[in-house]
Each structure stands twice: as structure tokens, then as C-alpha cells.
Symmetry: C2
């Protein structure tokens, strides 16, 4: 069971979580609970690191000490939930990442889990003790705290489930996965099931229900995942939520399952690049070395002979740094100009049905054109199409696409 | 160097601390810095544990999970100070109790440090790196977080200094040790030097400058300790503070060095105890088993033949629990009645000169009598005299004694 920040935002909600945990144990299950920091706490901690750390000088704030600070939020919740469970007469103890251990690499701020030896945790759970685990954190091989990135507690939960051989219920403030964000489109519908692949695309394209990495892990290890609401009254069951599973387990397949969007985008445009091999690898190699994730990339010939233009997108947080890195290579690479536009959004349609149906892209472009939405960049995969548009058109585009694929008719 | 909660209360103050640390390193010292939680944070965390934990049912809140929660405050400060130092271009890293490790026993909530292997910390400091250490916390031999009690960061600092063979500067919000609390007696004077023994008594009798255990450790390992203010402007030196040292190093000895007081007292009175051997050991054995510290004890014969009355004091926090424990032994012990009075305070005079001078007690009782202060319980040691009085008379008594021993004339 995993509970996010809003589900453990105060002591009353932690008691509600404790009741859900108790019910699960009473149903005969061995239970491990992964908790996030109390809502707002991580933001408070991150704000302090912004004030104290290298970010004050425009350098990345995500280092080993950043992790020391922000990992403390989950520690607090884990201790409080363990106390609350004990207070209800249930055996429980908290586990920090370094105690299990949840072994992670040293990409501080967005570390990946390398290994979770199941022995200690499994023995505790076998003894009937509820394991309350601080999410979002691991420990590097040289004993430093490492955090797993925003939403990392989802990944902690799936990885724990994989390690001890269990299923993973992600409790959150919504009661499942929706066809799109209900705050934008009130006719969004809850999906009873969604495939790992679709969930993976939805997560990586901006749907905030699950962290991308957690879905990758669930898919790789075949961990059954369920997304459901923690906001139930005492005695009430938490509903069925949405099951994330193998595509084969889904009987009624749809061509498009959802529309996702992300405003955390920035577009960097390079003009007048020399048109010869190696330019791209120089630029993107340098960005990769600096831990900047590049998403969409398009390259086109410029009007000037033997030069090209290139556009790519990065997360807003990395945007200025990416520009600085590119700028510093101006002599080496020899381009003419670099520009940043962070007033953009990415809107995507996702569905495994795209594999077998044509015309999905055409319908998308038509629907957007009908609303006068200009497409700046396009990228596609086997089961999704993403477009970069002016941020002001985000909601309009989401609603147009939701209707175009009949998602409100489910 | 150790910095308390008010010295690291916000990012601006953490920067001030970083400048003091930088100056110390620039002066050629290897530096380890022990930090407390940001002012107010520990109280916030303790309040949450009170709401979540056994304390809600009148049981002690100090257990292993309590420690998990409250230890997080120091983790935050350690990370933030390390980031701040790096931001100033200085090599620094944070150390949690479990990373060094600071090995502690499992008396959670008031654990004692058993061992600090100096190898890892020493190697880091030898390399020129500033070690920023989360105070107040250690790790038990079975890998759980244990906290050292209120003021435990002082003990962390002295223990670290002992482990790596250094001196210990305790930076706080006052600029040294005073003859008494300046908030009560404006004529209180700063002491240039004070002996370990006197500091120990002052600390254990209510002066909040240093944790008792830290002074014991300093005395046992001969760690030179200095108390000084962290509230200095950029570029300003932090003054001389008060040096805590061996009695032999103090040339000008005073009969009485200070007047301390504590309002954290509760008096428990037992009436009609059977007057035979073993009664005291039964009662105080049970209290010790429950981790209740008993301070002053007096026993007197009652008017009823073959019975005795007994009074003892405990900390306010433990008072009701102590009464419950005593009450539960009523059948076994056979006393008539137990009463609790927590409207009392302890006022003490301390001075190594008492060893060689008589009349100190007489002067104390005369000074209190002259102000109409009734003495309920008296206890003495070689270098201090304490009296328990009605709490309402605390300030009056402190000022009367401060004047009676000429401490305002220093």
C-alpha cells in the first residue's frame, strides 16, 4: 500500500490511512506501507534548499545534500504512521531507505533503485509486523541518502512489492486513472483498467497519477498495480479504482485511452547549425552529461545552404541551464543563435489501439486545426502522439481531443 | 563547533553560522560542526508524535518511532548548512548519526552515546572537508535511530570532540555562562571561566546553557569546552565566552559561582508508609524500571507510630506516570495516601568554594527566610545546595540568593 502526500497531510488523515492498513491486515494480508511526506512538507524543504544551495547561483540544486534535506519529510510520516498503528494495538515499525536497505545509484535528486534485498523486510513482515516504509528515498552503495525524484514514493512502493513478491495498491487523492485531467474536462471518465504501456506513456506525458519509473518497474516485474482513493470514511471500502495490468488482461480495447498534457516544457531553438555529422551528438552529449533530459527533437534544413535549424524540449527547471550549456559550445559547434521559449505545452493522445488502427494522427491534427491550435513540434511512438503547442491553448486542445476520440462516451 | 536551534533558525542565520565556520577553517583548524534542528522544528515534530503516539493514551511518547520523527529536524539543518558551505566554495558534507556512526544505546528518547569510531569522520576531516553533523541523534547497535534527549546536540558535540581529539565550542544565543538567568536578575554577570563540576551542577539544576550529559562527557575526557554567542555580525569575532575547564585552571575562585533554578519539578508525597527496610528500594526500583528520574528524596517519621512519610521530586513530564506507578504498588507497599504537587520550583546555589568554606547553607536559609520563602525540601552535594519552594517565589528567591552571595559584585 502506498499513500501520497495529501493522504497523510495531517494526523487525522494518518489515522484514516492506519484504518485502511488495519483492514488490509485483518483481511489476512502481510502489509508493507510506503508513505510520502505530509503534503506541503517537501515543498517547504525544497524551498530551503533553493535558498541554501547551489541553485542560488543558477547551478542544479539536486545534489547529495539536497537529498539529505528533502528525504527527511518521509521519515517523519513513516514514524508517525508506525506510532499511530501501534496506538491501535497493531505491531508496526518504520523503515528508512538505509535500514532495509533500498540500494540506489548516486544520481542524487533522481536516483534509480538498484536493489532491495528482501531478507530483513520479509522477515519482519512474516512475523506479522506492519512495515511502514519511508518512500522516495534510498541509500547509495557508499552510504549516502539518495532521493528518487518527484513521485518517487510510487517507485519505492512498486519496487518493494517486486522485492517481497506482492501486489501494489497506490492510494491517492483521486479514485483511479481518468481519460484526462477532470479539472480540465469534467466529462473525463475513470478507466477500470489500463495497460502498463499506456500508463507508462500517460505518466511520462504529464498525468500525475503515477511516477513513470514506477510503471516501468511494475511492467518489468509484472507487479499488479491498482490506483485508488484514500479518501474514504471509516468503515467504507476504497472502491475498485483502476487496475494497471498487462494489455492481454484488458478485454475491451480502445484505440485511444487518454489525453495527457504537460506544462513543464521549454523549447530551445538553435539556428544556423553547420550541417555535418556529429553536431547533434556533441550537443546532446553535453546535455546528457549535465543530467538534462531532452524530450522532443526536430531538425530541419535552413534556408541558408549547408546549415540546419534544430528544436528540442527540456523540462522548465532545466531550461536556463540547457541554454547556458548550449551557449558555451557556440565556438565548438558553430551555430548562429539559440533561443528559449518556455511558454509552451505538450498535449498527447495515448492508446495501444494505435498499433492496429490508422488515422489516429490525422484525427488529432484535424481536431486541433478546427480549434485554430498551431502545432510547433510533433513526436510519436507506437502508442502515442504528442504535439507541442502554445501554452495558452492547453485546455482547449485537451478538450478538443477528448471529444474527438469519443472519450466522453465511454 | 556546535550551533543550537536559535542559531540555525532560518537560512540567514545558517549563512551566519557558515561564516563562523569558514573563519575557523581559515584559522587553520579542521572543523566538525554539530547542528540542532531549526528553532521550533523539534517542538512541531514532538507535537505530532504527541498526537499520533502512545502519549495520547497517557503512555510515554519516547519510543523508537518517536526518535525516527524528531531526529529528522537535525537532518534538515545538517543538509542545509553543508549546502551553504559548498555555496561559499568550501568542501563540506553532512553526517547523520548512522553514517559516522554515533553508536547509542536503545533508551529511546534519552539514549546515551556508547561509541564513536573516529575513522571515517577523521579521514574526511583530514582531507580538508568540513564535517557537518546532525546533533541529538545516534544509531543503536541494531540499526534504529535513537535520540539523546533535549539538549542532546551538546552531548553530540562534546562526544565528537572527544572522539577526534579536539576542543568544543558551543555557540548559542547567549555569550557565555552567567551567575544566574539574566532574564530574572539583570545584574547577572558573565563568568570568564567555570569548572566542569560547577557547570555540571548548573546544567543539571536547570541552567539551560549545556546539557548535563555533555558536561559529564567533557569532564571525563578532558574536552576543553567554550560557550559563546553565534549572534555576531559578519566580520565580527564571537567574543571570548565562558571557558569550561578543570578547577585547577581557575585562579580566582569564588565560594558561590551561580544560582540556578528549575520549574520542571513535581513533588510526590507518600504518607503512612510502613517503617521497615526495603520499602524505598521497592518504590524507587519500580520508578527506575519505568525510566523515571527521581531527584530529591526526604523521609521522615510520621506521627503515627511505625510509619513514615516520604517526599520526592521528579520531572513534570514524568509526574503523573510516577504517581500511577506508585499508586499501583499500594497493595504491595501498604502506604496510606499519595499526593502530587507540581506547583514547586527548585532553587540552587553552586560553587566549588563550598568545599572549603562553611556557612554557605546558613547564608542561603537566612536570605530566603528574610524574604519569607518557605523551604519544602533540601538536598545538598559537595558543591551545591538545592531547596524546593513554592513556584510563585522562584524569581524572588533567585534574586535574593544572587545578592546574598555578592554575585552582582563580581
Amino acid at each position: 500500500m502506498k499513500f501520497g502526500g495529501t493522504s497523510v497531510a495531517d494526523l487525522e488523515r494518518i489515522r484514516r490511512v492506519a484504518r485502511l492498513v488495519a483492514a488490509e491486515q485483518a483481511a489476512g494480508h502481510k502489509v508493507a506501507v510506503v508513505v510520502s511526506a505530509m503534503a506541503g512538507k517537501t515543498n517547504e524543504l525544497v524551498a530551503w534548499t533553493d535558498g541554501a544551495g547551489p541553485a542560488a547561483q543558477g547551478l542544479p540544486a539536486s545534489d547529495d545534500e539536497y537529498d539529505v534535506v528533502v528525504a527527511s519529510g518521509e521519515q517523519v510520516t513513516a514514524g508517525l504512521l508506525a506510532m499511530t498503528l501501534r496506538n491501535m494495538g497493531l505491531p508496526a515499525r518504520s523503515w528508512m531507505g538505509w535500514q532495509i536497505p533500498i540500494v540506489a545509484d548516486d544520481a542524487h535528486g533522481k536516483a534509480r533503485i538498484d536493489d532491495i534485498p528482501p531478507e530483513k523486510l520479509g522477515a519482519a513482515m512474516d512475523s506479522g509486523e506492519i512495515a511502514v516504509i519511508a518512500g522516495f528515498q534510498g541509500v547509495t552503495r557508499d552510504g549516502r541518502i539518495a532521493t528518487l525524484g518527484r513521485g518517487g514514493s510510487d517507485t519505492s512502493a512498486v519496487a518493494i512489492a517486486a522485492a517481497v513478491g506482492g501486489a501494489c495498491d497506490i492510494y491517492t487523492d483521486v479514485d483511479g486513472v481518468y481519460t484526462t485531467d477532470p479539472r480540465i474536462e469534467s466529462r473525463a471518465r475513470k478507466l477500470p483498467k489500463i495497460s502498463y504501456e499506456e500508463m507508462l506513456e500517460m505518466a511520462s506525458l504529464g498525468a500525475k497519477v503515477l511516477q513513470t519509473r514506477s510503471v516501468e518497474l511494475a511492467m518489468a516485474y509484472g507487479v499488479p498495480v491498482r490506483v485508488l482513493s484514500s479518501f474514504v470514511e471509516p468503515g467504507e471500502a476504497p472502491g475498485q479504482g483502476t487496475i494497471v495490468c498487462d494489455e492481454e488482461e484488458i478485454v475491451e480495447k480502445r484505440i485511444v485511452s487518454g489525453v495527457a498534457y504537460s506544462r513543464d516544457e521549454a523549447k530551445i531553438s538553435l539556428f544556423g547549425l553547420p550541417d555535418h555529422p556529429g553536431v547533434s551528438s556533441t550537443i546532446f552529449g553535453a546535455l546528457a552529461d549535465a543530467n538534462v533530459n531532452v524530450d522532443m527533437i526536430v531538425q530541419s534544413h535552413a534556408r541558408v545552404a549547408d546549415t540546419a535549424n534544430m528544436e528540442f524540449t527540456v523540462g522548465k527547471r532545466d531550461a536556463q541551464r540547457a541554454v547556458d550549456i548550449v551557449q558555451s559550445m557556440k565556438g565548438e559547434v558553430g551555430f548562429e543563435d539559440v533561443r528559449l521559449n518556455d511558454d509552451v505545452a505538450k498535449v498527447s493522445v495515448i492508446g495501444v489501439g494505435m498499433r492496429s488502427h490508422t488515422g489516429v494522427a490525422k484525427a488529432m491534427f484535424e481536431a486541433l486545426a478546427a480549434k485554430g491550435v498551431n502545432i510547433q513540434v510533433i513526436s510519436t511512438s507506437e502508442i502515442k502522439i504528442s504535439v507541442l503547442i502554445d501554452a495558452a491553448y492547453t485546455e482547449l486542445a485537451v478538450r478538443a481531443l477528448h471529444a474527438a476520440y469519443g472519450l466522453d462516451q465511454l
